[in-house]
Subunit: 230 residues, 2 copies
């Protein structure tokens, strides 16, 4: 088996998801952090030699280069099937389809609402030193609320303990990492949402210590932001 190089930034939601998955499955990898804030991914050299999409996460597995977190997690589950516990990405066809259904759904319905809200409320004001436009922020918050409603209504209710059914899977890791990001934009996704809150606590617990390790940088920034408000 060739060396697996994992390129990531722990402030990127899907980067954290793959990082947690790698740790939980005990897949050996060479850690290759990419600091998005320095713009090192924006050069032509990075595009031609590292990742043509100029984003994270991505992997180099020997001379095979692969981007897109969902494609990566599926590739790793195949390549390291002797290591990866079945629950994370089930081999059984219908159970796997249920995980795939969420991994497809989340692109437009979890990732975009969470990431655009975070970007507009946290990143842009940090860059421009100006507060966000309230009308636009209101629209993005409404999209985020729809996302959370759907997670509870379509995925976790009435009887599902986890996103794809009774067992935890990579779908839960992907969903949780997106929701965690909104804490930095001072949004509490668990407020008045007991189902979502209980699920998020289960996921955190079952994925620790990898989960806390992956979120250490985010947690530090959240703490710093809270202190600056005191």
């Amino acid at each position: 088996m060739p060396v697996l190089k994992y390129y990531y930034d722990l402030l990127s939601q899907p980067s954290r998801a793959i990082y947690i998955f790698l740790k939980l499955a005990n897949i050996p990898f060479q850690s290759c952090p990419v600091a998005l804030r320095t713009g090192e991914h924006q050069t032509e050299d990075f595009k031609s030699s590292m990742n043509r999409f100029q984003k994270v996460p991505f992997i180099h597995h020997g001379d095979f280069k692969l981007a897109e977190s969902v494609a990566i997690v599926r590739y790793l589950a195949r390549e390291y099937r002797d290591l990866v516990p079945d629950k994370w990405y089930p081999a059984e066809s219908k159970a796997q389809a249920r995980v795939d259904e969420y991994l497809a759904w989340q692109h437009a319905n979890t990732r975009i609402p969470c990431a655009t809200y975070f970007f507009y409320k946290y990143i842009i004001p940090a860059m421009t030193k100006s507060p966000p436009d309230e009308t636009e922020l209101g629209k993005l918050e409404s999209n985020l609320v729809t996302c959370l409603d759907q997670l509870e209504d379509l995925w976790l209710s009435p009887a599902s303990k986890y996103i794809a059914g009774d067992s935890i899977s990579v779908a839960d890791i992907f969903a949780a990492c997106e929701l965690e990001q909104t804490r930095l934009a001072s949004y509490d996704v668990t407020k008045n949402r007991p189902i979502l809150k209980a699920w998020l606590e289960r996921v955190r617990e079952e994925c620790n210590p990898a989960y806390s390790e992956a979120h250490a940088v985010l947690n530090k920034l959240v703490a710093k932001k809270s202190q600056s408000k005191l």
Copy 2:
């Protein structure tokens, strides 16, 4: 093997993609058209008994219900692996990962730019009988141009005959069905784009007659629109 019921509307891009795939692979299915324009998918009964996402496409395979086109195509490739020619969804790990990479990428980078442009330029004016706002339309057209640039730059150039390499796959079917939709919004994705044009012609040819059959309703509407302008 239980009966496969396929629910679709041929004016939905991913519905056409799965329809073409089913026909090309000779997978037997019961055809269950859903007319989105009549709103039959918007009832509570539809949500509880047919598809909780209230969208198309989806399948019922015996008592197993599955939505999300990407999850569906992967499930069908597994369930009907004796019927589906390998090229459409390769079993080899790296080739499959390359198809998955596109199927993950396309959600935000092909589907959203093409569908939002189409919706804003064609559907909304048809519903409101008012022309679209030019500034907003300009933004959406710019997103569509970025999508087409990336398809040529990141997927089809310099040497790739198809999206995921030298062989046609479901990635090409999904991409082509999204691009075809923009014809109804009077946008020609092949204009001044010889690489994209040659690729689209290859895909149409290799997927016929299923491709033309799936696009018959769209083609009829495009022809009707052209005539009304004469």
